[in-house]
Symmetry: D2
Subunit: 333 residues, 4 copies
Amino acid sequence: MIVHLNPQATAAQAEQIANQVRALYFHDGSRYVLVTGTKDNSLEGVDPALIDQHWLFDNDIQLASRSYIDHIREVRISDDLVIGGTTGHTMMITGPCSVESEEQIEVCAQLCVEQGVKMLRAGAYKPRTSPYSFQGMGLDGLKLLAKMRDKYGLKVITEVRDATHVEDVIEHTDVIQIGAKAMYDQGILRRCATAGKPVLLKRGFGSTLQEFVQAAEFLLSGGNSNVVLCERGIRTFETKTRFTLDLCGVAYLKQHTNLPVILDPSHAMGYAYGVADLARACTAMGVDGLLIESHPNPKVAKSDASQQLDHPQFRALMASLHPIAAAVGRTMI
Amino acid sequence: MIVHLNPQATAAQAEQIANQVRALYFHDGSRYVLVTGTKDNSLEGVDPALIDQHWLFDNDIQLASRSYIDHIREVRISDDLVIGGTTGHTMMITGPCSVESEEQIEVCAQLCVEQGVKMLRAGAYKPRTSPYSFQGMGLDGLKLLAKMRDKYGLKVITEVRDATHVEDVIEHTDVIQIGAKAMYDQGILRRCATAGKPVLLKRGFGSTLQEFVQAAEFLLSGGNSNVVLCERGIRTFETKTRFTLDLCGVAYLKQHTNLPVILDPSHAMGYAYGVADLARACTAMGVDGLLIESHPNPKVAKSDASQQLDHPQFRALMASLHPIAAAVGRTMI
Amino acid sequence: MIVHLNPQATAAQAEQIANQVRALYFHDGSRYVLVTGTKDNSLEGVDPALIDQHWLFDNDIQLASRSYIDHIREVRISDDLVIGGTTGHTMMITGPCSVESEEQIEVCAQLCVEQGVKMLRAGAYKPRTSPYSFQGMGLDGLKLLAKMRDKYGLKVITEVRDATHVEDVIEHTDVIQIGAKAMYDQGILRRCATAGKPVLLKRGFGSTLQEFVQAAEFLLSGGNSNVVLCERGIRTFETKTRFTLDLCGVAYLKQHTNLPVILDPSHAMGYAYGVADLARACTAMGVDGLLIESHPNPKVAKSDASQQLDHPQFRALMASLHPIAAAVGRTMI
Amino acid sequence: MIVHLNPQATAAQAEQIANQVRALYFHDGSRYVLVTGTKDNSLEGVDPALIDQHWLFDNDIQLASRSYIDHIREVRISDDLVIGGTTGHTMMITGPCSVESEEQIEVCAQLCVEQGVKMLRAGAYKPRTSPYSFQGMGLDGLKLLAKMRDKYGLKVITEVRDATHVEDVIEHTDVIQIGAKAMYDQGILRRCATAGKPVLLKRGFGSTLQEFVQAAEFLLSGGNSNVVLCERGIRTFETKTRFTLDLCGVAYLKQHTNLPVILDPSHAMGYAYGVADLARACTAMGVDGLLIESHPNPKVAKSDASQQLDHPQFRALMASLHPIAAAVGRTMI
């Protein structure tokens, strides 16, 4: 159950009611909002004068639900970079899998500027499954990303792999990416809920849509309304491709949730050859953004070498996306 | 191994060599073609004068492979209905899940004519998983489809569910659809290989891409080169949607095989609300066709009621697909 | 809905009522039994004097349900070979993947005799996914199996791959195996329903438990009550093993259905090294039988070479199974 | 590559060589051990006198591999509680899903004492997928577990959900459980590698066996050799049961790794009715332990109510396991 308190209700009153009805609560800018589990759907004993409106749900997709907000939320990354809502924006995000050196990331930043891409991505803390693989440049990588932001006027996004560096990521990025392998991490989710920055939440590759949106509820119920969902492929029996991009799931999310959706075809496919086709498919679905791995020289990349586009391939992709976006009434930014 | 015999080689010589090297063989219009398993990659003892060319493979995707034919094959349904090759055609196929009555199927045929759709689909033998569900009109349904073909100048396609009616389907349809549940059926595959009609082969929802293309090899090695692959969703852990449309797999098929690919988003999604978005995604990928279930009144449909578009929805979908096809350099027919 | 007619009801009356309430019907030895789909749960207009008892269901697992028969059915293969019911029998079935020659299958038959195994298995029609692989000896293989039965007093079981040879299999075997790839084939299911022989129905590797039991309903509602379910591994994301043996599913089947369950760890594992451990696990679950592939010389086997036990391994396995069966109150036969 | 340095090699020498060949390293009690990624399989430039022995691998399963240690490692929880090695022990671990109160956990501890079970389990930090569900008693729950240990002489195990409480768990438990959702968390893995306590690592339900064992490599290469693997079910398309217990995978782990394996049928099944059958199956496979959820009154449990055995069911289960363990030459402790 979601409960909108009267705008005049105080913090003390909100806390008291939340304890009484076993709810989480936060201030959404204009009022306190309470959310209970489905078992605790009762307002018995609460002063009706303090309550403006309430919504009942039969499962724990609540704040993200279309039954609560019947449109896609607007997510503001900065005053001039907004997605969702009525913007019709499909935002391109690109860059290499990992920051490898200043020279490398600067060439990537320059590609963004050249192509009108406003957000640069790259990993500093890589969630590798083997302890014997390259694990990322860490804080040095973060600082290089921040340097590119300052030098080229780009926004940057990078992934939180685990809790050891969550504060560093929050400090240095414009959008915090919670990776697929950290999607269930309540410590990270709760910290990012109060970080004051937009969050891009990736779906775990073994996670149901229900669980995925419930993870977003940790962020929303902690008071962060700038949440973007990212589908990046699920694990299936098919092994010719790295994962299986779940566009049926994206259709579900667009229909049933109020959160913008960004697609990551690079990780889903795992091979550069299919990325452009999939990116075109995603664009035609009218999604809110794309995350495409590109690298000045994929052959020497320290991670995910097989799936990154080289820069000529990326330019060709961008050229092909604009008319598709236009055909579905959207603008590629 | 694929072996092209000299065009002068006779049937008797082809048979003799095939026995000698343990190969399947067929005449492709200009010559005999032999195909062996990977264990039997030897031409020892065969008169070299009879051999024009040969190709070696490390797995049993051979005739469908890009290493054999390095472009998408042209599939001719009729003289004026061709897909694949250099046509740039994306062919729409629509109609109800099942033929239910003459009135119903005629309204569907009229929708095709109105929308410039050249091929009508509908099931006569339904592969239901329960014996207690509607199993289709059978031969009467087939005859109604044939009647629509004659009256409206449409091509028709319907599914072979099992071997009991394969001859009837071959007789009455323009394109034989081998359903997902029959994909492994060698009896049906071998019969359709010599049926003299194009075949649309659906991927089993539990079948790997390797197995899917190998099923096509049964058709190709039996002498039928008019084979179209159809992706219709695979079974994964996600249950909010009926299946998961595998567009990563489609990217793989486009890259590695020489067969046209048609997409069936209706069965993948299982809900009408997502079909249009998915159809737009498929079109932007540059596929060779779409199979969309539509029904004059889905609410009363005897099968798959939830996933069929009504006719106004179908018209809106078609209007949205033409500009996307144009944006990727193709024509929706 | 299942309806038991009064034992005095005639065939004509049964047919008339079945038409009226849209039911399938069969004679179970003592009376006519009708089964309708869940949408047709009405006996309106039927003479109550003709009806003994009826059961309502909310899904199409009906004749196989514990709500209908609250114990495991007894399945009689012959007068002296019975499983299920109160027998406490766990029946071993073994033999090679394929009949390859008379010498080979005779050694296998002798192993059965030596080990007290009463049923010999081997494939004559192999459901290979590639047209370029060994497809089995066909009718010659069937006849060799029948010869072993006559010579050694064994029962034999072999698989129907597709409809082209269903009559031959019915004629020559004691138990008809419907393979995983044919599980949805209504033509085969309906034919085997009236074949007068027990059927072992394998679960499709992409099939849900619901669909699996519904396939059994085709057999049961056609009048064949001698149906055994066989779990043989489902396809998952894990590829270190060939399939994933679904013992949670077996627990479900034991709880919710009235059919005996036989396990096939050989196909699930795909590697001989794990088969014995899995066979021991299945035995401890109290299943009704095991299907274990064994071969006199697996290295030269024409199909499934990696997963067949050699004969010393099989003997060691049998020795280890008897005490486990005893520990759970069963007898290995 | 694993490298055993000469026992005389000093810490400084180990560090210097590790930097040179890009290796992780640790002291295993008798010597320094270095491990490199497969790309860095070179000892060029290293003084051969410092090297005792080395092993090459083609993938990143190294310290856990049977090629390195060709038997199951012994894991010592305390001097009188040892599994693996030549002990033949199958260790039962039981207790409720969550600590709910002192009264509740004390009844559970008494059940352990009564049944000869040496290790008590219960969750204090629950990894719920919804923010609106019961999240566990936290530190208070940990302290209650520790109290039971002191009062009843039991060992206790509880799960680390995320990094916010990893120190508390390390302090209060005898065995640290890394939950399925934290399996990829390098921060937690690295911290537990140096915690000086045994670790039970649960397989992520979307994780391959390769990834699972690689996660164990984080622990092993950090110097913790007391690592136990726990299979608890993977996510598949089947939804009648909560997950699918992967016993084929267990057969793989027993064959290819040197780590003890414990099974958790409760989470795999999700329903109490199947747990006993599955526990018997696991025991017959000869695994090193079982994790069974039991609760004095499952109906009122605050989490996982459906899958917990009540205490009479647990007693019956234990009684049935001893003879099965004996039948496979093991002892249930």
